[in-house]
């Protein structure tokens, strides 16, 4: 039996945008953590991202299960569609929304965790500042502009071939870092100190400090100017 994990998370939108423009979502509850990055060129991606993470964390239901996925798709359409919307919004919604997905379920009894990922929202398993394991992507140069996505389109199973899974053990004192693409790419190429700062300080507890950290990483570390969400799980 290991201690209950401590989960910290924070998020900032792209430069010049406000919180309501942010299409990243993260949710955690009782050892279940999920993060999703809504594809901003698609329709109402923030709503879709929220449905995916809430299904996993709050409802304890795998959103990628075929039956559950279709229910969530119907729920998405119900939330975003309205006959009052102008023609261009209706047209956009007809094309659908899409988002990345990453979930982690922690079993403190057996000191194990199981992760599932679609796309470029990534998990890093860190011990003593070293990355023991990462996925779905493992190197900064693997990030591109066309990540795998989970779509709202009814019957779409295009993401299944891109599913990444991992189950492994951990030790007390390990940490998991979950991050959307800009931060994930940055952290996969970052020195040990940067990882340790996120894990062992209160950066993620204070929105102002987190914003400063992101601004510094963008300006000095070359981190891409995107919605930036990081979650640290202290195991």
């Amino acid at each position: 039996m290991t201690a209950e994990p401590v989960v910290l998370a924070n998020s900032v939108p792209k430069p010049g945008e406000v919180d309501s423009d942010n299409e990243d979502r993260v949710a955690f509850c009782s050892g279940r953590i999920a993060m999703s990055d809504g594809a901003s060129r698609t329709a109402r991606a923030e709503v879709w991202a929220e449905l995916l993470v809430e299904s996993f964390a709050q409802d304890a239901s795998d959103p990628l299960g075929p039956a559950r996925l279709e229910l969530l798709r119907a729920e998405w359409l119900d939330r975003v569609a309205s006959p009052d919307l102008p023609w261009y919004a209706q047209s956009k919604i007809a094309d659908g929304g899409a988002a990345t997905y990453l979930s982690v379920e922690i079993d403190t009894g057996r000191a194990r965790f199981a992760a599932v990922g679609i796309g470029d929202t990534c998990l890093l398993h860190v011990r003593g500042g070293d990355i023991l394991l990462a996925g779905p992507l493992t190197r900064p140069d693997q990030f591109g502009r066309s990540p795998a996505l989970v779509s709202t389109r009814v019957g779409d199973a295009g993401h299944t071939g891109d599913r990444w899974e991992c189950t492994t053990t951990y030790k007390n004192g390990d940490a998991l870092i979950i991050a959307t693409d800009a931060a994930a790419a940055f952290l996969l190429g970052a020195p040990t100190d940067a990882l340790q700062e996120l894990i062992h300080t209160d950066v993620l507890n204070d929105s102002e400090e987190y914003s400063d950290w992101v601004n510094f990483a963008r300006s000095q570390g070359g981190m891409a100017s995107d919605d930036t969400t990081i979650c640290v799980v202290r195991l």
Partner: protein, 292 residues
């Protein structure tokens, strides 16, 4: 580096279309049943809709990444977008979305999430109707565009430079438009000179010329004239054109001659993507509808 300004709501881009509406546009377009005027209006309306989709997230709001004007030239030089008056040729993409002349419901074939072909009802917005009457006063049209571009550049000094696309099926009937086009090319923003592209539509099946890098081999004086007043593709558009599968050489210009309807639509699509924040990047990675 020129032509690299980030396009955002604070620094929108400008796309200005100039459409030939002379009598000859009534003739059929090579390879399709419709007249050139009908097919071009269809292509422009579809392009504008796609541009709006690039700036929409499925809510009332449209992100004003760029501004647009459509100028017709035939019996007269006239603004084609509803609500625009002389001196107010330019509208934001948001205003454009909110003010089509009408929205038709059309049945279109699409592929559903399971990969099946299905017929769906889709809204089709119309801003530009086909017109084919009068001469081809191309020089006057460029002269009318010049102060619009000059004023816009003065108000948007840090924006991506304006893109002017002239679409015609013939020769100018009011003299050589080269000097007027070159005056527009001499304008610009801190990010580079204004771009002038030219598209020539063919009434009969002829060898097309797309994005040539030299005038060698062009079929006649009119083609050489239009080539001469066409800007070189900036790097982002060059890569995106290659991303569309086109084999183009260094120095390729924004110029089509004897173009068919599909090629013109792709050309207009390239232009609208050039003035949206990530539009061209999607083409260079093969990503179409989805992206972050």
């Amino acid at each position: 580096m020129a032509y690299s300004a980030e396009i955002n709501r604070r620094r929108p881009a400008l796309l200005l279309l100039m459409i030939d509406q002379s009598t000859s546009m009534e003739d059929s377009w090579a390879g399709i049943g419709a007249s050139k005027a009908e097919a071009l209006a269809e292509a422009v309306n579809k392009t504008l809709s796609n541009a709006i989709a690039l700036c929409s997230k499925g809510t009332q709001r449209v992100y004003d990444y760029f501004q647009i004007g459509v100028l017709g030239y035939g019996a007269e030089i006239s603004h084609q977008l509803p609500g625009t008056r002389l001196g107010e040729i330019i509208v934001s993409i948001g205003d454009l979305a909110r003010s089509p002349k009408r929205v038709e419901q059309r049945t279109a074939e699409t592929v559903d999430g399971a990969g099946r072909r299905v017929l769906v009802e889709q809204p089709f917005a119309v801003w530009v109707d086909p017109v084919a009457y009068g001469m081809t006063p191309m020089t006057a049209a460029f002269r009318a565009a010049e102060p619009v571009v000059a004023s816009w550049c003065s108000d948007h000094a840090d924006s991506f430079p304006p893109l002017v696309v002239n679409i015609t099926d013939g020769e100018s009937t009011d003299g050589d438009p080269t000097a007027a086009a070159e005056r527009i090319m001499s304008l610009g923003t801190n990010d580079g000179a204004a771009l002038v592209f030219n598209v020539h539509l063919s009434g009969i099946q002829q060898e097309p010329f797309a994005y040539p890098s030299s005038a060698a081999g062009l079929p006649n004086d009119n083609a050489e004239l239009l080539f001469g007043m066409s800007s070189e593709l900036p790097p982002g558009m060059f890569e995106a054109a290659r991303g569309q599968g086109l084999a183009i050489d260094t120095g390729a210009r924004g110029f089509l001659y004897n173009a068919d309807a599909t090629t013109v639509f792709k050309f207009l699509d390239l232009g609208t993507r050039a003035v949206t924040p990530t539009g061209l990047k999607e083409l260079t990675t093969g990503l179409q509808a989805l992206g972050q």
